[in-house]
Amino acid sequence: MSDQTSQSAPKSMFARAWDSDFAYNFRRTPVAVGSAFVVALLVLSAIFAPLIAPHNPFDPASLDLMNGFTAPMAANEFTGDVFWLGTDDQGRDVFSTILYGMRISLFVGFSAVLFAMVLGITLGLIAGYVGGWIETIIMRAADVQLTFPAILVAMLIFGVAKGITPIEHQDKMAIWVLILAIGLSDWVQFARVVRGATLVEKDKEYVQAARMIGRGKGIIMLRHILPNVLSPVLVIATISLALAIIAEATLSFLGVGAPPTQPSLGTLIRIGQGFLFSGEWWIILFPSVTLLSLALSVNLLGDWLRDALNPRLQ
């Protein structure tokens, strides 16, 4: 069979990707296609929020306090304006705040996972390939980290960072501190998985062959081992993304995350819960539903990815 395939001409990258078993598996799994669609829809609408959103909730000039507490799809009794998902107490359009809030949630989520991933992969590769006391230090540090709940670690980092930043910069720094806090509480699982995969790969003969050529440790780790340990990392990264978005929402809900001037989904939910029992249900419901669909579809996508990349289940 392989004799035949090696005779035919190489196909284009796209055709190869479309034809691969991986893409085929994706096309055949309705849950994967559905959740990928939801994720793509939410991510795109977050990216293009300035074009889609009817209002800019951060521009005080576009706000009219008279529009406060307008119910979804109902005309405001003073101005006659209609808002799809209603408005909050300050007259901000809920739909627009969700779009802008999702931008912040997704930005924090992606950046935190990226940060955790880079840190975790680097430490995991070094621990797995170099071994010895370096490995012991890295992996024990990981174990210690795991004994604290991630949210506690994030809050601690957040608190310390807040304490050392001057008050006038705090709002601007908040997002970056959030990324650092979530990223630092999340690197352990990347490091563990990469270390495990590295231990398997480093005994394979292609690594021995590279060592025989005289390749140094750095090149072997980056060019030979890293590309071969990435598939499990991809799975964890997806599931971590959902967790990071939720962690950000949790921190913001607790009031230690995104500031009210840059409200994320979590901040919106915190604002909304104050109105839950006074009848303005839409202020909390719609941001919550958005957060739920985002986290759920990312998670489902991660689940599918884990199954699709697991050779034992194929």
Partner: protein
């Protein structure tokens, strides 16, 4: 009465693109007391037949046609419950890997007794007695005591005996043994095959012995069926098929088997199924920069080489336990010769190769290459010159190439690292090498998974040749390959020695292969070099008892046809 009859059996595996026909209208019968060999190369469908008979086909595979009958009664197409009463009871199976066939959490006694009670409905005491008898029957010493041990407390050969005892629990009429000795050393392999022969004779059990090894077929079976790409190509009495094969495929297969008693110049190129390949190592010689031969005539000298591995770590040095993998080994390799090292698994032969390859550090002793003491060089930079001149071909073609690198990148890597060539000259060298090993330069744009095992091993060879080395370490280069592919690779290696003047260290457990390849041979056992001699001398007059034992265990293959080899016999 015929025990098992397989008629026109077809097994299909529908895949995304097409239906893969694993077995195509195969016929086979097993009589009481008969050992029926099923031989073929990987992908021939021999294991699939075994799985189909047992009802163990993995989805989406299914029997698409034909019948399997046991004592005249059709058993294929039965429902799962009915199959279960037959499978294990009347038909048992022995798998290749004794380690994974046993449950590591139960003692062998518990596993045997459970099976005996399930099938024979005996009381606890009787079952235990029966289990002890069975262990005794399969040659386990002190069965009374060993019955309460766990599988990990048994050696590989002993474990396979336990697996056979397990298969005998239900007093089956037919045993299907799928590569029962492939994972074992030669000495243990011989004992297990002897045991299977005895059992067949004494209990009148019919055995289907699935193997890729012609030596096992020739020495053990009464009848043989040869399969090629899912179809039976030839079937008959073993002596007849081996000695006077009729079908072209059988002929080509037999011609590719390395003989312990004949030395051939080159293996005949297989012509069956369009699988012959063209390679032109002699063309490579024109651009090959041959270095000055070493003055002493000795290229590599190994003196008192020792390697210990940490067996049990501890904080206090005196509590640590070490295992001596290589113990005071000395030999030298002359310029231009192929030096073989043979030994069973755990003899330390691969460890020696890895020390020479600088993959392991030594714990004592000296390695000298062309008058340079390699073991005295410590930094990577000092070793560069040595590393350029030595290259290695690994055992497993599936793990020795980085799956995420393109083939041309893989071959170019050593050239780039040693800065031997620049720019377009690198691509030119890669293309030439791929061409010469018979893959064609367009193969460079593909990834390793697109190639078969034999093709990958040729990519490995191309990579090893990229730096124009003087010395090649081959660590079991063909043991993972089919016999016809092995013949191709061995021919290439022979060409490398002849046309490029390469010196080689050839590590193998396979004595007939060593006889074909090597000028001189060293025999290793438990980390020590037992004997070093010229190959012909070693095979004719072995000095040491261990060498004699190894030679006596080697399949003789005297009944095999020598047709097609005549022009090549040296």
């Amino acid at each position: 009465m015929t025990l098992l009859t397989i008629e026109d059996l077809s097994v299909h595996f529908p895949t995304r693109h097409k239906v893969f026909v694993a077995v195509n209208e195969a016929d086979l019968t097993v009589e009481p007391g008969e050992i029926h060999g099923l031989v073929g190369e990987s992908g021939a469908g021999k294991s699939t037949i075994g799985a189909a008979v047992m009802g163990l086909l993995e989805r989406p595979g299914h029997i698409a046609g034909g019948t399997v009958s046991f004592k005249g009664e059709a058993i294929s197409g039965r429902d799962a419950e009915a199959m279960r009463s037959l499978r294990g009871a009347k038909i048992s199976m022995i798998f290749q890997d004794p380690l994974t066939s046993l449950n590591p959490l139960l003692t062998v006694g518990q596993q045997l007794i459970e099976t005996i009670q399930f099938h024979l409905k005996l009381s606890d005491g009787d079952s235990r007695k029966r289990a002890v008898e069975l262990l005794d029957r399969v040659g386990i010493p002190l069965p009374d005591e060993r019955i309460d041990m766990y599988p990990h407390q048994f050696s590989g050969g002993m474990r396979q005996r336990v697996v056979i005892a397990l298969a005998l629990c239900s007093e089956p009429d037919v045993i299907i043994a799928d590569e029962p000795t492939t994972a074992l050393d030669v000495s243990i392999q011989a004992q297990i095959l002897e045991l299977i022969k005895e059992l067949a004779r004494e209990r009148q059990t019919g055995v289907i012995l699935i193997t890729h090894d012609m030596g096992v077929i020739a020495d053990t079976t009464d009848k043989v069926t040869v399969m090629y790409q899912g179809a039976v190509v030839e079937s008959g009495a073993t002596e007849q098929v081996m000695g006077n094969p009729q079908h072209d495929y059988t002929k080509s297969l037999i011609a590719a088997v390395p003989r312990p008693t004949l030395k051939v110049h080159r293996f005949p190129q297989l012509s069956y199924g369009g699988r012959s390949i063209e390679f032109h190592i002699d063309d490579l010689a024109r651009n090959w920069q041959k270095p000055e031969p070493s003055k002493s005539g000795t290229l590599l000298k190994v003196e008192n080489l020792t390697k210990t591995f940490l067996q049990k770590g501890a904080l206090i040095p005196s509590r640590r336990k070490y295992f001596k993998a290589v113990d005071n080994v000395s030999f030298d390799i002359r310029d231009g010769e192929v030096f073989g090292v043979v030994g069973e698994s755990g003899s330390g032969k691969s460890t020696v190769a890895r020390m020479i390859a600088t993959l392991y550090e030594t714990n004592g002793g000296k390695i000298t290459f062309d008058e340079t003491e390699v073991t005295a060089l410590s930094s990577n930079r000092d070793l560069e010159g040595y590393r350029r001149q030595i290259q290695m071909i690994f055992q497993d073609p599936y793990s020795s190439l980085n799956p995420r690198m393109r083939v041309d990148e893989i071959i170019a890597e050593p050239v780039k690292h040693h800065k031997l060539l620049e720019g377009a000259a690198i691509q030119h060298r890669v293309d030439e090498l791929l061409d010469r090993v018979g893959l064609g330069s367009e193969a460079g744009r593909r990834y390793p998974h697109e190639f078969s095992g034999g093709q990958r091993q040729r990519i490995s060879i191309a990579r090893a040749l990229a730096t124009q080395p003087r010395f090649l370490i081959c660590d079991e280069p063909t043991s993972a390959l089919d016999v016809s592919i092995q013949a191709q690779i061995l021919n290439i290696l022979k060409d490398l020695q002849e046309h490029l003047g390469l010196t080689m260290l050839f590590i193998s457990h396979d004595l007939p292969v060593v006889r074909q390849m090597c000028d001189r041979v060293g025999v290793m056992r438990q980390g020590q070099m037992v004997e070093v001699a010229e190959t012909e001398e070693l095979f004719a007059n072995p000095k040491e008892a261990y060498t004699r034992e190894l030679l006596s265990l080697m399949p003789k293959l005297e009944g095999l046809s020598t047709e097609g080899l005549k022009d090549e016999i040296v």
